[in-house]
């Protein structure tokens, strides 16, 4: 039998397989590295990094929902300097690409972190203009096409790495934002970030999350994510990293057929620490069994 080719090219960077981690669900790889061999992942996408440390939101930040969860972490992170000193050297020990998720409250902050990390040894930037958990910045850039285009354009000017733009599903028409990011100069897109959700504790008559609302993720959101990847893949000619509820290789194949080049495993890591590697191995088996030599044979095959 001929060897199947699992590798994919995302904005000029070759991953050995299409599987990465969804930002914020995998830390910077250290914790899950105790369970999975990081060499088996196409890339590790690290949690959001800002130019300066962020403290994030108050607890409780987590609530389970049927087949999913809510989080309102609010991008707590120790800042770009810490990330460069601690996390990059750790990840570079492995044969996997590094995608760093960039966050900010203002265009200036996004540019500052992009500039700082342009000097760092990372492979791709993922611009997070879609976090529902911060009051300023984040999602406000991701829901307004004009602002999205502007922030992408400005970050592009200083970024010395290929720029993936991460989109929020909390819009009426995601293709509009996708086009705006493309015209701002995005080298790729990733989607979807979390859906805005809420849970109420009926005994206490209070929201479960201290932040009241939070980002909804996990298997329950997968159909929404597949639909959006499908629509965006039809609308723009950029590589897409698909995510939203992926927990098995079958889920990942759905995203690839919808048009994704890369696939990210997020919330599923909490239910099964081995999920990422199981998805990668499952995709390989699927290709072998179905005589698919290259994922381009099935990518975006849905009309």
């Amino acid at each position: 039998m001929r060897q199947v080719n699992l590798s994919v090219n995302i904005a000029g960077v070759t991953w050995k397989n299409p599987v990465t981690t969804a930002s914020g669900t995998f830390g910077s790889g250290k914790e899950f590295g105790e369970f999975v061999d990081l060499n088996k992942l196409g890339a590790v996408t690290v949690k959001g990094v800002a130019a300066e440390p962020w403290k994030g939101n108050n607890a409780p930040r987590i609530a389970e929902t049927y087949g999913g969860m809510l989080n309102s972490v609010g991008l707590q992170n120790p800042g770009a300097d810490y990330f460069m000193e601690e996390d990059i050297p750790f990840l570079r020990q492995f044969d996997t690409k590094i995608v760093v998720n960039l966050c900010g409250h203002t265009v200036e902050e996004y540019c500052a972190v992009a500039e700082k990390l342009s000097e760092a040894d990372v492979d791709l930037f993922e611009l997070n203009i879609s976090c529902p958990n911060v009051s300023a910045g984040g999602i406000t850039f991701g829901t307004d096409p004009k602002m999205a285009e502007r922030v992408v354009k400005e970050v592009k000017k200083v970024a010395k790495k290929p720029l993936i733009v991460k989109l929020t599903p909390n819009v009426t028409d995601i293709t509009e934002i996708a086009r705006a990011a493309a015209s701002g100069g995005a080298d790729g897109l990733s989607l979807i970030n979390t859906l805005l959700g809420m849970r109420i504790d009926i005994k206490k008559r209070k929201p479960v999350l201290a932040n009241k609302v939070g980002g909804f993720s996990g298997p329950a959101i997968k159909p929404v994510a597949v639909r959006m990847v499908y629509q965006v893949a039809k609308a723009v000619d950029l590589p897409i990293i698909g995510m939203g509820g992926i927990s098995t290789w079958e889920d990942a194949i759905e995203f690839i057929m919808a048009g994704a080049t890369g696939v990210a495993v997020g919330t599923a890591n909490f239910a099964n620490p081995f999920a990422t590697v199981e998805v990668a191995e499952g995709i390989e088996r699927f290709m072998e069994e179905n005589n698919i030599m290259d994922l381009s044979e099935i990518r975006g095959i849905i009309d």
Binding site: G24, T25, I62, T267
Partner: protein, 256 residues
């Protein structure tokens, strides 16, 4: 090293109405485990996908077992209560830091409130010297016999006065004039706060085991934070209960 395993259930029986004792065969994980650590128990149902953190109540290194004592409060723990001996359940552990054990003999105060009592059993076994356990419960406290069996002196307070002292556990400690070189507590946040105040007033540095909603349990998602201001530091920070805790020094917790 943390491990993810399928553990056979050797025992799963009610202690009282809604509090259950589950003994799991965990192999080498038993030797790794320390008092005050916890494990993640998985429901095995996609609908309830997050693991449930449960404290380690007892460790038997020889038999390679862990004992968990849990209260049925929702879907996950209800499912655990329906599992039977011989079935397997997925477990990740040991997790968290555990209590910092003093060396040598001493006089130790342990405080357990409600479902915070279980981790006190293993702790009582590992401490040397005089161990006084103050147990607070709404009514009908569990594990009292077991605490005595492992050599602790047990003092009980119940809110309804049905067993022991009528009042809360801090009032009981005050009433008894509790004395110790150190103090370890686990229970509701409000209790931990008052226990911390009591301890500091009595010149004891308290160790408190905190609870917070979790997703990963291993320090990756930054979901489970508490505000901690370390001695000598200018500002507080959000630390992770699952990794930096669950045990913190009470004087470093920002109670709110």
């Amino acid at each position: 090293m943390k491990q993810m395993i399928w553990a056979e259930i050797l025992e799963n029986r009610p202690l009282t109405g809604d509090i259950f004792s589950m003994v799991l065969s965990v192999g080498p994980m038993a030797k790794e485990a320390k008092a005050g650590q916890f494990v993640n128990v998985y429901t095995g149902e996609g609908a309830h996908l997050l693991p449930r953190p449960i404290s380690i109540c007892e460790i038997d290194e020889e038999k390679e077992t862990l004992r968990l004592v849990y209260q049925v409060v929702g879907k996950g723990t209800e499912r655990f209560s329906q599992m039977t001996e011989g079935q397997e359940v997925q477990v990740l552990g040991p997790l968290g830091n555990g209590f910092f054990l003093p060396e040598g003999e001493g006089r130790h105060i342990l405080v357990g409130g409600g479902i915070g009592v279980p981790p006190m059993v293993e702790l009582a076994k590992r401490l040397q010297g005089q161990v006084d356990v103050y147990v607070g419960a709404r009514s009908n406290p569990v594990l009292l016999d077991r605490l005595e069996e492992v050599g602790a002196t047990v003092h009980v307070a119940t809110d309804d006065g049905s067993v022991g002292f009528h009042g809360n556990v801090v009032q009981l400690m005050e009433h008894d004039g509790a004395k110790g070189d150190d103090l370890f507590a686990c229970g509701p946040k409000i209790m931990l706060r008052f226990v911390t105040e009591w301890a500091l007033k009595n010149n004891i540095r308290p160790q408190v085991s905190m609870e917070e909603r979790m997703a990963c349990g291993i320090g990756a998602c930054v979901g489970c934070v508490v505000k901690i201001q370390k001695q000598g530091e200018q500002d507080w920070q959000h630390l992770k209960v699952c990794k930096d805790g669950p045990v913190f020094y009470g004087d470093e917790v920002i109670w709110e």
